[in-house]
Assembly symmetry: D3
């Protein structure tokens, strides 16, 4: 009956599959999902925020870019603990909301499916379901584990163009093997790039929810031009790993092996303090 | 194109017609109506609050008691001004919400009626529609007009049991005539009652929305026992007016000539500051 | 010097003993008690809410109904831990506040008693003190333990009329024995009733504060009529236990063996986000 | 020394000229501009909100689309009144912030210009300054003046894809003449389109700040596909005015004669209630 | 029954007469006075703030310095209008609160006086009551009327040490005569001082509440040293007026002819947004 | 990778070294430091408040008084845990901010030093750096450990003048030895003083951040006069310890062996609920 104290941060990478769904997805998130989520986890999630992503930069698709928002939670306990399974009310999750996010195929059959919940929702969009992208929900320690550049950077040093991404090494490549390449080839290369202001990384706690993604990174630039130059020109020096899934950097398959979001430092919506219902434009 | 500055307070007396509707009425008010109302009038209503009424005391029915809440608005302009007629979105007002409040008869026909809006909603429940009570929405000046007792009363002097009510003199009795009786018979009697701590009154601005109610009063007591003694025993001394609709005090027909609510001093919900969406119990 | 992480939810069932005390009890709660409570436990209670109960339905008294509010806390630590005993300021708890709630007899002697605090307050109203009802404060795990019906119910499925109650089997009946009857007779019967939409239960953590109550339940209906039919008609099929304290269902003594409250899904006051002082009606 | 009560709504159409400026523009708005604005006008602006625009749809450029946010104010007085001219602190408005919005040319000279303020800021980007777009700030009555379709539409009728735009008839065409075409040709055509759910319009109060824009409109669709079909296919039936600036609908020059933004119903940031400083992502 | 729209700002200069009263005065203000004030004027006061003053600088006494806080209101109507006279509850204003502020003499008789209210409170501490200082409450237009230096100053230009003061020319000197000296002697002198960054002034609307003070000024410095040098050294050049009450600058009698407060730019408490009851330190 | 649940309270005693720095220090705290701090620790600090101290009373210097504010945090984890070391953004901490607080000498060299962070900041002002005072940051259990008087005191018993201080016994005196004197000489003496209303103490958790301070105390009085009489007259009875650093009570060296702040019960700024950016006075 006891439950462990396990402070963790989780990140969900929300995508809007087609522009015609964007306002519908927003409505579902703000009218239904945010208050229902708060009702459920307010006592054991200490911060719940959305960060609005910046538009996908040129060549972003190669990096598995998504275009809606990063949903961030700070948990005091592991939400996958079976002790949390019974909920008075379950969240309203019509299949359409998963079609809009690209996790269910955009077909009449998918839309007529049953209400989703918990594990069912999270297992949508896994590889092999044509026309969908995986649901990305990763857990990391509450604090960043490692930093490689920009330790003293403050808000006064200028606005940051933050490239946040998760990676999963290809089938058959162990995390150790993949990380070896990352830490000896990739990170040193980025450390040396003049366009890079900051590098942060944490290992993903895959055991929490069995996500296939293995590592979270943030690399900061002054803006999208610097990012573009860094990832397309400067990365030429990075040695291609033998196990590369793709011919060029990042050598990982978009959406399944690398998923990226671009954010500013800007505060998004901290729902506990800022949510006040759905009050439309007059 | 100019609009006058007309600071006004309005009061709506909300009733729940049957207990089986109370949770439905609450849901409609808090899930749909409050955020939609704020969306509409936030720029020109300076305060929007609900006060939860105290249970109806013994013999309360004789005074046209209602049992749900007082909705209070503070307007900077007259909301009936035709310049306010076009609204981007209209409020979601299913007929059921008016059945629940007792303003439409509780019949299948009423429920299948059209969505209500504006004047249609406000004209529900007028006299002559069997089984319904009138929609009470009165406008008064932003400040009380007259006080007759308890001028120096502060919050430190004890909790108040506030009887707030609106009256309309019977058909054929002018406001002047009715008020004469009120000010020479009723108010002096209450002033002299030891149970009474405070008396306040304002004339209703009937021209704003053509409400038939003519006057708003508040008389304060220590509690329901003092109220009961005052209105049933002490009022025996009050001269019955020739035009009395009813055999005993208040000599007015409940719900159409007198409508009462009982409130404490307690703050209800000040929606601008306190509303944060509909976050149910876990 | 270390203290365990023990996330728990607690529920206090607040009653107003006489209507003449309702506004005084509200004042004490909102003017004195809420801010003082927040001052004390804000750092280690992650949510603090009040839910306003629905009026007592017909035949409710048989189920030990209370009529004021459910006070809910979400604790990160066990508040009974002796490490929490020293408080800079103690709460203002005049005996009258306990008379108003029915936990002290309504006598001059009780009112002249000493200021109550902590364990003294919580031990008021225990069985055997004539004319009083016990102080009900139960601790349960932060999450419901078991559910028996309505697992997929969402807010979109309609408003709920939630019957929340605690039970304590009669003297001499072990929890195991009582629960056996509950799980083999009572819960299956309610599962089969068409009026029932949802069943939830948790075992009360009696060791926390030595409460005699043993189990918390919630059974949801569409409204009070469905509840009434279920508990008076449908329960006829439930086998009377040999140890029954009362002749008919729930076979438990009101207030000491069963205490009930009726709530809607509606959010009450989440004090951390919504409390803004005591700002009375103008 | 008296000042008139003139409730008005104003709309600013904010654009981000290049994606590399988006995070800088956000920072300036949220770190500097919002709190400084609130400091200045909180006592006489009753609501201050930002609405995040939806991405520019296909063929949007023809309609003078902008891509950042709509800034909305509700004024109780005319902010151009000379009585408001003296401000204790003036707003921090570096020329760069106007380069980022496309109102100053993106040149070193522009960046080295003086701090902007008031009228200087508002007169940036007028026609004739190469490579810039005009600063759009229009005042309209607090309430929409006219509606042509969808009077009873509520939030329950589905999410809206709202096309909001301002127009200015070409040089030499009077407002009367232009409006005649609008009301007899354009609006009736849109009223008849099955893709259109709602039409709203108000005359711009040009005297307030001498804006050249003459009329504000909102036309609502289910989504961008319906909008696209309506404005590219259905508008073929609309008679081209003799004074057309452009060969096809809307027959107006983008950015100077028509400026468009696409918004959902979704609440943006209501700063008075939601702003809590600039708290960056961790 | 109509009331004029008269946007005004008012300033109250609160003093704590003896340090032994400071915590008592704070308690009265925060526990009793702020929520009671909001209850009363929330619908027609658009901003209500306290600014905590900086400690009195060297030689400050000569300028009639006060040491507690500036209370600021922004009114939409004239609060002295007789239409506002009736208040449901009056404010809790024990004589002690006025002794603590120095407006009643610190004697047992004063303390045993009656509860103060409205005009009685405001007329405390007028000249001639030994050992007291006048109650300073001045009304000015919502916007500063005139500025003489520092028009383009922004928050980015550095923190300001703001000397805010009200003046009243000596008995027998007309406002015109006094102002002539102010505008031709004093202000030009300050404009020329290198220590001065900003000068603002407004005429006090004496008709509102019959205050004897005639003019409000703010002169800004980098800090108290610059202020001290300016007012003690630099002012030597200012011509002494024939009507001087005092031998040296400001030539006015402290507390009755000049009352000063020193504030930073720092936000104090904006009560509508920030007040959340009286939650003491644990 | 796991981190322990260690609820702790920490207190920082902020001083303003010279009055000319007060407005600058306020600006740094409210404009830069509070939002940056919240950004960093909001997920694992459950309350973050500032308490404004009362002016230093007569003879306060002898007790190592400071004059700005007490910064209070409630931590769920030990912030010194190396797992917390990597922060996405570091706090903006210019050396000037430490000069203003008296932790760096007021010299050009100090001002030109590098940006401070973490341990560097906390180790400023240690003994031996001429003209500085130590940075006081102490961790104590979340709850007071011991109380010696006034156990039943409530907010209704009157305002408190709270003397909060930390002590460190002189070099060579063990905590045990020092505490023996404290508990057998000092506390009993204060318990017997009629001026004392409450005594609270906790042992400082020195291992958390290696602070030299050993014990936190609060002793409450009615006001500064009672405090003064108690500490100057009544303490004459307290036996001088052999290890006294100073000739009279408290026998400890100000600022390095005893540091005091005087606070009322009054709530300061609870930043999570009340911070809304830096919105200056108009």
């Amino acid at each position: 009956m006891t439950i462990a104290f396990e402070p963790m941060r989780s990140l969900i990478y929300v995508h809007c599959a087609k522009e015609k769904y964007r306002h519908k997805l927003q409505h579902w998130l703000y009218f239904h999902h945010i208050p229902e989520s708060m009702a459920q986890f307010e006592p054991y999630v200490s911060k719940y925020a959305y960060y609005w992503v910046l538009p996908v930069p040129e060549d972003g698709a190669r990096f598995g870019t998504r275009n809606h928002n990063i949903t961030e939670h700070y948990w005091l306990v592991n939400p996958m603990n079976p002790q949390l399974k019974v909920k008075a009310l379950c969240e309203y999750m019509p299949p359409a909301a998963f079609v809009w996010q690209g996790h269910l195929p955009d077909t009449p059959e998918a839309l007529q499916g049953e209400m989703l919940q918990g594990d069912d929702a999270r297992s949508t969009g896994r590889e092999g379901i044509a026309g969908t992208i995986p649901f990305v929900w990763v857990f990391v320690p509450m604090w960043w584990e490692e930093e490689f550049k920009g330790k003293m950077r403050t808000l006064q040093d200028g606005c940051n163009y933050r490239w946040q991404f998760v990676i999963k090494y290809p089938e058959g490549v162990s995390k150790e093997e993949g990380d070896k390449w990352l830490f000896t080839e990739v990170i040193p290369a980025f450390q040396n790039m003049p366009q890079v202001n900051r590098i942060l990384t944490s290992s993903i706690m895959q055991h929490v929810n069995q996500t296939p993604y293995q590592r979270l990174l943030e690399i900061w630039f002054d803006g999208p031009d610097e990012w573009h130059e860094a990832v397309t020109v400067e990365t030429a020096k990075i040695k291609k790993p033998v196990w590369a899934s793709e011919p060029c950097f990042p050598y990982l398959k978009p959406q399944t092996e690398i998923v990226s979001m671009f954010v500013s430092d800007m505060p998004g919506d901290e729902h506990y303090a800022q949510y006040r219902g759905y009050i439309p434009m007059r």
